[in-house]
């Protein structure tokens, strides 16, 4: 069973645009984490947001959490070609299927 489900499955944007990915989950959580996976590599932790937080920023990343809707979003601003990767949300030790982001130069 998957706790987190990302949406969309794939996203293609132009360099400089913003990218928004969403994650929905099913049960109550203590925190939610976002990871990035470059092709052929392992996952890399990006940011954690706790259940009592509504928004968190890290550089060009902005994460929101709505516990009433059991959803989170990851916004990448001013995207770069190097942001091309798959992005996963995770609650406890359960990962969603991911969003494949392609940033076109």
């Amino acid at each position: 069973s998957q706790q987190g489900e990302e949406d969309p499955q794939a996203l293609s944007i132009q360099e400089g645009e913003n990218a928004t990915m969403n994650c929905s989950y099913k049960t109550s959580i203590n925190n939610l984490q976002w990871y990035r996976q470059n092709s052929g590599r392992g996952l890399v932790h990006l940011i954690l947001i706790r259940s009592n937080e509504r928004e968190k920023h890290s550089g060009r990343l902005r994460v929101t959490l709505d516990t009433s809707k059991k959803s989170s979003s990851l916004l990448i601003t001013a995207s770069r070609a190097a942001d091309t990767a798959s992005y996963f949300c995770a609650t406890d030790d359960v990962f969603g299927p991911g969003t494949r982001l392609s940033v076109l130069p």
Partner: protein
């Protein structure tokens, strides 16, 4: 400081053969995990360990065994490989579980093909 190291990086097996995947971490982490990643499925937890000498089943444990004899190593074994076990296997470690707000650190994966 290598982080999480997985060996081998690639392997091809025939149905029925056995093999062991090795994961080593140098961060003194208590928790270690084995996942498999299949197209469109995301990561699925096979087995995990919350400390030296402990192991527990994850979401998809059938056909796999694990051992954590040393804190820094977590071994994943396939006793009799089947084509359905063709996948990319990832090992991860963390100081505590993600429920406690601890991020996982991942290796770069082992690409395993079963013919």
């Amino acid at each position: 400081n290598a982080g999480v190291t997985q060996t081998p990086k690639f392997r091809v097996l025939k149905t029925g053969q056995s093999m062991t995947l090795l994961c080593a971490q140098d961060m003194n982490h208590e928790y270690m995990y084995w996942y498999r990643q299949d197209p469109g499925m995301g990561l699925r937890l096979i087995h995990y360990s919350v400390g030296e000498g402990t192991t527990a089943k994850g979401e998809v444990p059938d056909g796999y065994n694990v051992s954590r004899l040393k804190k820094q190593n977590f071994l994943l074994g396939l006793e009799s490989a089947a084509p359905s076990q063709t996948s990319v296997y990832f090992c991860a470690s963390s100081y505590l579980g993600q429920g406690a707000g601890q991020p996982q650190h991942f290796g770069d994966g082992t690409r395993l093909s079963i013919l």
